[in-house]
């Protein structure tokens, strides 16, 4: 036991003191935050400022309408002109327009105007076309209202009178499934990231003894199983450390930037919402399960990666090709989250949250929706039991493969051969 602790200590310290650890701990959250803020900033400032000329053959639109709507939303300026398209197409650019809209004559206003065309020499993105369409529809609503005799009063009633639905649990408490979904996705995604990044770290860590040719020296002092376990736990602790540091970092940076008024309103709102609903959803419960599935998933997958690392001969490509099926399982799990988030009680979600391969990720997407509501106790219990059994099995299996692989310098083995090692006598 003491020896495992020695190994854990060495593996942990060696990695935590490396420059790359410090850089990635600081860099990642910074990059991520820069991305969020940057994108929203960019979005705000570079939203297309369109200047569009309008030729209206339908007669339903007038200058006043356009001018009023331009005033409320200056990102799109539409100007009604009385010209022929053919002449306009040669001059619109010179006059400062990005393009022009041709509204054809419409036989019957009740059928709307389906074939308005937006002409320009370069292609504008879907959002620009959408902007124009939205604006026109906005104005068209006024036209419709007028034609139908819907005055201001009635218009008010139409827009204000709505039915909105909030979902609640059986006790009548509001459950915000959008936020639950977000938490579920974030949790699942985090576990996915950690499994991939640190799974391959374990694989490379295991190859370290072979590459440095120190495997036999170490194995003459400790049992192979102790070495494997020490490496997995040591690297796992590094993952935990980095994860905590990230959380703290993001938290600190966020609070700092909240103080300054530069922070984006939308982000503020969302985080505010999340923090509100945090008090509704059972946060300690979610954290507990997050820890459980994080650990379970980590042990389950990293032991498989350790087995692979022990079998290959220093060649990263060999390692990657052999680990491909394992990596695919992880990727498959994250791919299924879109389904499980959409329908947390559907068959796929339920089974995927119970089978140990995908349960760490998928169960975490389901839990924020409510235990025992969305996730009945028996499903949770079964999933946890299977995950524990699962990682005990993979650790045992990998231990057997590891003890043979670590001393072998021959050709690259196939999965079949590796399984044979597992069941050979020591």
């Amino acid at each position: 036991m003491n020896k495992i602790l020695l190994i854990i200590q060495r593996e942990y310290l060696t990695r935590v003191r490396k420059k790359t650890f410090i850089i990635s701990t600081i860099l990642f959250p910074l990059l991520y935050l820069a991305l969020i803020f940057g994108m929203s900033y960019l979005g705000a400032t570079t939203m297309a400022h369109l200047k569009v000329a309008v030729i209206d053959s339908s007669g339903y639109f007038n200058k006043g309408q356009f001018e009023r709507s331009n005033a409320t939303d200056s990102t799109l300026v539409m100007t009604l002109l009385n010209e022929h398209p053919d002449s306009l197409k040669n001059t619109y650019k010179r006059r400062g327009f990005d393009g022009f809209v041709i509204i054809p004559a419409s036989k019957n206003w009740e059928e709307g105007i389906p074939n308005v065309s937006f002409r320009a020499d370069k292609k504008f993105g879907a959002s620009s076309v959408g902007q124009i369409e939205n604006r026109l529809n906005f104005l068209w609503t006024d036209v419709k209202n007028e034609k139908l005799g819907i005055d201001e009063n009635k218009k008010e009633i139409i827009s204000k009178s709505r039915v909105s639905v909030t979902s609640e649990d059986l006790l009548g408490q509001a459950a915000n499934e959008k936020v639950a979904g977000t938490i579920g996705f974030v949790a699942g995604f985090l576990i996915y990231l950690i499994l991939l990044i640190y799974g391959s770290q374990v694989m490379m860590g295991v190859m370290e003894e072979k590459t440095n040719r120190i495997a036999e020296v170490i194995i003459s002092s400790v049992k192979p199983f102790q070495l494997m376990l020490g490496k997995i736990i040591g690297i796992g602790l590094v993952a935990l450390t980095q994860f905590f540091l990230w959380v703290i970092f993001v938290f600190v940076i966020y609070n700092l930037t909240k103080a300054t008024s530069n922070s984006n309103e939308a982000v503020n709102n969302m985080v505010g919402q999340v923090q509100n609903t945090f008090t509704n959803l059972n946060i300690p419960v979610i954290l507990f399960f997050f820890a459980f599935y994080f650990l379970g998933g980590f042990f389950f997958y990293s032991s498989l990666y350790a087995a692979i690392g022990s079998a290959v001969n220093e060649d990263m490509r060999e390692a990657q090709s052999l680990s491909f099926p394992v990596t695919m399982l992880v990727i498959l799990s994250i791919a299924m989250t879109s389904i499980s988030l959409n329908d947390p009680t559907g068959k796929l979600a339920v089974w995927a949250s119970i089978i140990p391969f995908s349960s760490p990720i998928i169960m975490m997407t389901r839990i924020p929706f409510g235990v025992p509501g969305t996730v009945p106790w028996w499903q949770l219990g079964l999933s946890m039991a299977l995950l524990i059994a699962g990682f005990l099995f993979t650790v045992w299996l990998s231990g057997k493969i590891y003890r043979t692989g670590i001393l072998m310098y021959g050709k690259k083995p196939s999965w079949k051969e590796m399984i044979k090692w597992a069941f050979a006598k020591s």
Partner: protein, 312 residues
């Protein structure tokens, strides 16, 4: 008292009988040579002694008791042929780590490291990384990590490979010192001239079986061919050598190598030459070198072990 006893050890792999019923006994304080061609089973044997492999059959008795892989390895030091160190780790830290893995406490390990580093002139190496060392330097370091914890049994597999004569000598001196201090050394190598120089007792294995077991002197005696080298002050003539006492293997101007006929003694030969009026300068038995014995015994073994059918 025997420090190590191997009784009928067997280790079979799917494709060959690596160790096929080997028994031997090693006394405390001996410098013991474990020899054999490639693929003979030496490494497998050593791995069973160090607890890396478990024998399929047979017993290992270490220091009078049944070998306990968990506890006894603290008393064994092993320098494998395929050896290395963590390149990116600092030397002082790494030596400490390896010593602790062997069971030494931290302060005790530090004390011993300082002693050995001073002895081998390695004081300036503490904070350097292993990748900064030359090959010879890292071999020295590996030797230190092997013997640091004062093991009772030290197993060295090709310890001199890659060392220059100065460092080779240094290690050789240390081997003698360690043996003097009571440690037992198992030395595995292909370099027979070193074996002759250093070892007391040797065992030759081939194809998983033991084919020689005895002291160096004994083995040479067993394999001697009654060859003698006689040198003279005078020139030798053909008529001097025409006698049935011996067979002439090689003749030079003032020297001859003869194979003595078993019915006659050394004195007979000396008497003969004296009677012939020749002035004898020297008369020496030529014992076979271990190299020759080795080749003679394993000649005919294919260059690499063929795969065998292993029927259980």
């Amino acid at each position: 008292m025997a420090i190590l006893e191997l009784n009928n050890l067997k280790k079979y792999f799917a494709t060959q009988k690596a160790v096929d019923d080997i028994s031997l006994s090693i006394e405390r304080g001996q410098i013991f040579g474990l020899l054999g061609p490639n693929g003979a089973g030496k490494t497998t044997l050593i791995r069973m002694i160090t607890g890396i492999f478990y024998p399929d059959e047979g017993q290992i008795i270490f220091d009078g008791k049944k070998f306990d892989p968990v506890n006894d390895i603290g008393h064994i030091g092993y320098m494998p042929e395929e050896r290395g160190l963590y390149k990116k780790m600092k030397i002082g830290e790494q030596t400490l780590y390896l010593a602790q893995l062997k069971g030494l406490g931290r302060s005790e390990a530090m004390k011993k490291i300082k002693e050995w580093f001073a002895k081998f002139d390695m004081d300036s190496w503490w904070t350097k990384k292993v990748e900064d060392l030359s090959k010879g330097m890292s071999q020295k370091l590996q030797f230190v990590t092997t013997v640091l914890h004062q093991p009772k049994l030290i197993i060295l597999d090709e310890p001199f490979s890659g060392l220059d004569p100065v460092n080779s000598n240094l290690i050789k001196e240390e081997i003698y010192n360690l043996a003097q201090a009571g440690a037992t050394i198992i030395f595995s190598t292909h370099r027979m001239e070193q074996v002759e120089e250093i070892c007391d007792h040797i065992v030759l294995v081939n194809k998983g079986k033991k084919i020689l077991d005895g002291t160096v002197q004994r083995v040479k005696q067993d394999f001697k061919e009654n060859l003698f080298r006689v040198t003279f002050k005078d020139r030798l003539l053909a008529e001097h050598l025409a006698i049935h006492l011996f067979e002439v293997k090689q003749k030079m101007e003032k020297e001859v190598i003869i194979k003595l006929d078993p019915g006659f003694s050394n004195n007979d030969v000396l008497q003969y030459f004296i009677n012939k009026g020749l002035l004898i300068e020297s008369f020496n038995e030529i014992l076979p070198s271990l190299n020759d014995i080795f080749i003679r015994l394993v000649e005919g073994t294919p260059a690499s072990r063929h795969f065998q059918e292993v029927k259980n």
